[in-house]
């Protein structure tokens, strides 16, 4: 974990890079379409729920921070505290999904949809694809939580045998790597949302 080594496993960074390439294309396309119809985009932006989205941005940022705390505690073998932070991160992610879906419902009820205009096309498609990222992230964090539970059970039974130091530290290292991999992905989801938030809700 110290030195020039990347946190998590190397493959996840390839995915991060690939995902950033795709979203960069998303953003460039949006800006390209926007440049021809700035008025439409600015006017459509007014219909979005800026307060809810700002709150959602905070939720994801705090969620990411909680995951950092969880990983730190895992590395120091403070498992109970790590799990509290992890579950907090999960809970905030679930809240993000709830608020996002509420905003969709409000917008659709007000008569906005995929085909309203180019702004709403980008809005629904990009935030929708991002939402899929969030859902995948929640599954990954839940699996991490289960993995930590499994490790706690093994450690408890191993402590009775009192001879599992080597095996114990190996499985701790594996869980920390898993947590860092999940964390890397979760930060990516956070970062992409910040860009989307700026481009869709704030750009004036």
């Amino acid at each position: 974990m110290v030195g020039p080594q990347l946190p998590g496993e190397a493959g996840v960074w390839a995915f991060v890079l690939g995902d950033l390439v795709v979203f960069s294309l998303f953003f460039l396309t949006l800006l390209d379409y926007r440049s021809g119809q700035v008025e439409v985009f600015l006017q459509s932006q007014q219909s979005l729920h800026l307060g809810a989205a700002t709150f959602n941005t905070l939720l994801l940022l705090i969620s990411s921070a909680l995951l950092v705390l969880a990983i730190g505690d895992l590395a120091r073998a403070r498992t109970p505290s790590a799990r509290r932070w992890l579950r907090g991160a999960l809970l905030l992610g679930v809240a993000f999904v709830g608020i996002k879906i509420s905003e969709y419902v409000l917008l659709v009820r007000s008569g906005y949809g995929l085909t309203t205009n180019d702004f709403f096309m980008f809005y629904f498609m990009f935030t929708g694809i991002h939402l899929v990222h969030v859902l995948v992230g929640l599954i990954v964090l839940s699996l991490l939580d289960r993995r930590i539970s499994a490790q706690v059970r093994t450690a408890t039974s191993a402590a009775a045998a009192a001879s599992a130091t080597r095996g114990g530290s190996q499985s701790t290292a594996a869980v920390v790597t898993l947590a860092e991999t999940a964390g890397t992905y979760w930060h990516l989801v956070d970062l992409l949302w910040v860009f989307l938030f700026a481009l869709l809700y704030l750009l004036s």
Partner: protein, 232 residues
């Protein structure tokens, strides 16, 4: 370990996928479908296109509707490599992968039938040609979830292979996730006639096609390499 004729067959199966992917692109080009026809094209412009590419479209449709079966051999090879890992979870994922692979490739038959029907009678009412052309394009771009799930399942299986020498490198797992993501937007093609999410757009055609070819070729090559290497 080595399984002689079986392994050789399996390697051929694995490489049948990349062969199909390359032919698919060539045949699409021959049909005049690269770049793809715009959803906004008028019935008259379509009549012209089908008149100019009548032979190419018949040839392409005829070939693709048969050759897509090569994708099933590719699917079988992946399933076998995952199964040979000897992990219960990977056996389940291999089963899911096989079923999803059948749908991914068999679904390609239908747009080919529709395109060849469209090219069959030049004297047909242009409005009917418009209808058939829409059917063909939405039919090939929209039913994408089987490929999305197949890629996800392969990706998860790659990451769950915890043997010291796993069948696939771990980056291949993440590549599968990335391809699954790129396939996704096609599902909503029915909502757009212009722009990046229309059936001829950047996110509904060009990126998914690049990802599809990359996916079949990379996973096919890695599968051929894995056969016999980590088997037993």
């Amino acid at each position: 370990m080595s399984n002689g004729v079986g392994d050789t067959l399996l390697r051929i199966f694995a490489l049948a996928g990349p062969l199909f992917a390359v032919l698919l692109v060539v045949l699409f080009w021959g049909m005049g479908f690269l770049p793809p026809l715009a959803p906004t094209l008028s019935a008259e412009a379509l009549v012209d296109h089908y008149a100019q590419h009548r032979t190419g479209i018949r040839l392409g449709a005829t070939a693709i509707m048969q050759l897509c079966m090569l994708g099933l051999l590719w699917t079988v090879a992946i399933g076998e490599v995952l199964e040979r890992a000897g992990r219960p979870a990977l056996r389940q994922l291999a089963a899911a992968q096989r079923l999803l692979g059948v749908v991914t490739y068999v679904v390609l038959i239908f747009p080919c039938i529709i395109w060849t029907v469209a090219a069959f009678r030049p004297e047909r009412d242009p409005q009917l040609l418009l209808l058939l052309n829409d059917l063909g394009w939405l039919g090939i771009v929209m039913p994408i979830l089987s490929a999305v799930l197949q890629a996800l399942v392969i990706g998860v299986a790659v990451l769950l292979d915890d043997r010291p020498r796993p069948a696939y490198p771990r980056w291949a797992g993440y590549l599968n996730f990335w391809c699954a993501l790129l396939f996704l937007p096609g599902a909503l093609a029915t909502f757009f006639k212009t722009g990046p999410f229309a059936w001829n757009g950047l996110f509904d055609f060009w990126l998914p096609v690049v990802a599809f070819v990359l996916w079949i070729c990379v996973v096919g090559a890695l599968t051929a390499r894995a056969v016999g290497r980590a088997g037993g």
